[in-house]
């Protein structure tokens, strides 16, 4: 019955009258969560079925979302909602498994590497072992497979391999015949993510050419260069997918450009998990107001409230000294420093007080 509350207008109206909230179905969540956390309505719950080791500092988290989850296309991401130390955190991860796996056993796999200084990836590695329930968003992202089969080239680095794993396994399931090449850059043998899947695919699927480059192992060629492209036949006809850390992306785009590849051939997913800024990062930065789609630069210790007002926005405010919370609003991403305590926030989505929050690096606010 609760599932119809949010979809049927009269019930939704009644629910609003009775429970004073726009999501009346979630009113009973505190009780339902105590009985069975998979029954909550406030977000789409997913049970963590199993955690497996994948590579150095990398684990796969196998999730079974509730039936309300609508599925995904290979290469898409989801937001995961976990609660650590009483705080709800949202983080975006790419699904490494295939839609076919989800259709057959209802699970999706997130392959997650510990980020140096990353609060949530480390927390997940240290605290989750299977059985827990977390929240997931519907899938999003446009790192999609081409609609018709054509020759493909993937250039991936580090944990940027995750959407590529989903793509390749999906293509192999379809037994695509057009040539597919993967150039995969990792630091060393122990850092290869999805090694088992990749070698198995290469063995059973003749269209795939797999090349793994270890950038920090002795005797190996170092970073990506033109020579790596020489082995790729018919480069002009290929659709190219780039996914990896920023350094590799810039380098690869540069190398491809010099090789005469048209920009329209290249599809990029900017893969970089949000990370906490270093403590010595200067205050100020680019502030983006999401709702109005405005970006302004700020300098020094100007708080977001003043920055917003200077940008001619009119956010609600009250005391302007951090007491009344009238100006509390959602920060979508970026780090802010609390003027009163001097403490830096996390990088993810959370509520902040505009009047005492000073951006430290780029910040996006829901205004």
């Amino acid at each position: 019955m609760l599932s119809t509350v949010n979809t049927r207008a009269p019930l939704r109206w009644l629910g609003k009258q009775l429970f004073n909230r726009d999501d009346p179905g979630a009113f009973f969540d505190p009780l339902l969560a105590a009985l069975n956390p998979m029954w909550v309505r406030g977000f789409v719950p997913a049970r963590l079925v199993e955690v497996t080791d994948e590579a150095r500092d990398t684990r796969s988290f196998h999730l079974r979302p509730s039936p309300r989850w609508r599925g995904f296309n290979a290469g898409q991401h989801i937001n995961v909602i976990v609660e650590a130390d009483g705080v709800r955190h949202h983080r975006t991860f790419t699904i490494a498994s295939t839609p076919r796996q989800w259709a057959s056993d209802g699970t999706v796999t997130l392959t997650i590497k510990r980020l140096a200084g990353g609060r949530i990836t480390n927390w997940m590695h240290d605290n989750l072992c299977g059985g827990e329930v977390m929240g997931v968003s519907q899938a999003f992202g446009d790192f999609n497979l081409p609609e018709t089969d054509r020759p493909l080239l993937y250039i991936a680095g580090g944990s940027g391999i995750t959407p590529v794993l989903s793509h390749l396994a999906t293509l192999a399931d379809r037994d695509v015949r057009a040539p597919v090449t993967l150039l995969y850059y990792v630091r060393s043998q122990a850092d290869i993510i999805g090694a088992g899947v990749l070698y198995a695919l290469a063995a059973r699927w003749p269209a795939l050419t797999l090349k793994i480059f270890k950038t920090e192992e002795e005797g190996e060629p170092a970073l990506m260069n033109e020579a790596h492209l020489d082995s790729v036949t018919g480069l002009d006809a290929r659709q190219i997918y780039l996914c990896g850390p920023k350094g590799l992306m810039t380098l690869a785009a540069d190398v491809l450009n010099r090789a005469g590849v048209a920009e329209s051939q290249i599809q990029t997913t900017f893969f970089s998990a949000p990370f906490a800024v270093a403590a010595d990062t200067p205050l100020g930065g680019a502030v983006t107001f999401g709702k109005t789609d405005k970006t302004v630069e700020s300098e020094g210790d100007a708080p977001l409230l003043e920055i917003a007002e200077a940008a001619e926005l009119k956010p609600a405010y009250g005391c302007r000294m951090g007491i009344c919370h009238q100006c509390s609003c959602r920060k979508n991403s970026g780090t802010v420093v609390n003027r009163l305590t001097g403490k830096a926030s996390g990088p993810g989505e959370e509520t902040i007080q505009l009047c005492i929050s000073v951006p430290q690096g780029p910040v996006t606010v829901d205004l």
């Binding site: 999501d23 009113f27 130390d85 009483g86 705080v87 009250g318 951090g322 919370h325 009238q326 007080q353």
Partner: protein, 360 residues
């Protein structure tokens, strides 16, 4: 008011800031668990109360149902709603506990409350003319307001305000006294009135129409039970709130005294304008920890269940600077509130003559 020099005020601010920072650094899982437990308790009592109410033709069941529903409403308003809207749990990043969007189970809309209470009352606490919570523009509680003969009846006004407290709070922002004096036009308040009727209508629909009709054959019992639960909540919350600022020794301030106010001075005003009452753990919970009004006013965004823990330190700081830490049992504090309402209903000449022997 107790006078402190500039340096003492700065030290006072530093001492209190230190407590604030220490507690906020420690806020986490324990506080999340606490508020979630309160929310579970609220849901259980509300569901239980509503489920029992139709069987209220059995007297003990009626008592249990009314008790359950009124405690549910009290916990939701005092310990959950009021505190969540102060931003005490914003750090949890849970959209259903977000200060700016929370909507509570009472007539006053969350938005109106956030403006009049969180901003006006907490910023201009007890400043006559600025803090409209002071006497709710209805009662005369200090000699800053000139006496007039109508004040003789203010005890009756107080009783009415307590009985219909949720409706009074809902209309607080209308500033009816200023509309009557033609300082503002009623049309300026059209938006507020629309919100008031929508939210008030919703609350009345739920308690006085929907649930009684749902249980039609026993509707008089359900209606009576729901009216009782709202009444109990109204009486309790108004009493708690009156004990917070209108006790005998709670001080008032003038607009001139807060010009260019420093943080230290603001703290001093919060400390001297508020008063606590003592009681068992459940008295604290049911008051939403406004039993620790002093701690609440210096740290409105610290999760309220922590006030009990930091109270001895705040009291010690008051002692250090010679500031009165106004506390006593609920009965004693409430008695001084009633006394104050009574005293200021009289002309100043009569009042000072009556109270002079007591003071001597």
């Amino acid at each position: 008011m107790k006078q402190l020099n500039e340096q003492q005020l700065n030290e006072l601010a530093e001492d209190l800031d230190a407590i604030h920072d220490e507690v906020m650094a420690d806020v986490g899982e324990r506080d999340a668990k606490y508020i979630r437990r309160m929310i579970r308790l609220h849901r259980t009592l509300e569901v239980g109360g509503r489920a029992m109410m139709p069987f209220g033709f059995i007297p003990p069941v009626f008592a249990a149902a009314v008790g359950s529903l009124s405690i549910a409403k009290i916990i939701e308003n005092m310990e959950i709603g009021h505190n969540v809207m102060h931003g005490q749990y914003d750090w949890m990043n849970d959209p259903s506990l977000h200060s700016q969007t929370y909507e509570w189970d009472t007539v006053c809309t969350g938005d109106s409350w956030r403006r009049t209470h969180n901003y006006e009352h907490h910023t201009f606490t007890n400043v006559i003319g600025k803090d409209r919570d002071y006497g709710y523009a209805l009662l005369r509680l200090s000699d800053d307001n000139k006496w007039n003969p109508l004040h003789l009846f203010q005890f009756a006004n107080y009783a009415l305000l307590s009985v219909f407290f949720q409706w009074g709070v809902g209309l607080h922002e209308l500033e009816f006294e200023r509309v009557r004096r033609r300082e503002i036009k009623l049309s300026e308040k059209a938006g507020l009135l629309k919100d008031f009727f929508r939210k008030g209508g919703r609350q009345a629909f739920k308690d006085y129409l929907f649930f009684p009709l749902l249980t039609f054959p026993v509707f008089p019992i359900v209606l009576a039970g729901n009216v009782s639960a709202n009444l109990i909540r109204n009486l309790w919350s108004s009493s708690v709130i009156f004990c917070g600022h209108f006790t005998e020794d709670a001080e008032t301030f003038t607009e001139a005294s807060i010009e260019n106010e420093t943080r230290g001075h603001w703290y001093l005003r919060q400390l001297t304008g508020s008063s606590n009452f003592t009681g068992s753990k459940w008295v604290h919970i049911l008051s939403g920890h406004l039993s620790h009004q002093i701690e609440h006013h210096v740290f409105p965004d610290i999760p309220a269940h922590r006030y009990r823990e930091i109270a001895p330190r705040v009291e010690a700081i008051c002692h250090k600077y010679g500031i009165k830490y106004n506390t006593g049992s609920f009965g004693r504090q409430y008695w001084t509130v009633l006394k104050r309402i009574g005293q200021f209903s009289l002309p100043d000449r009569v009042r000072t003559r009556l109270s002079a022997p007591a003071a001597a």
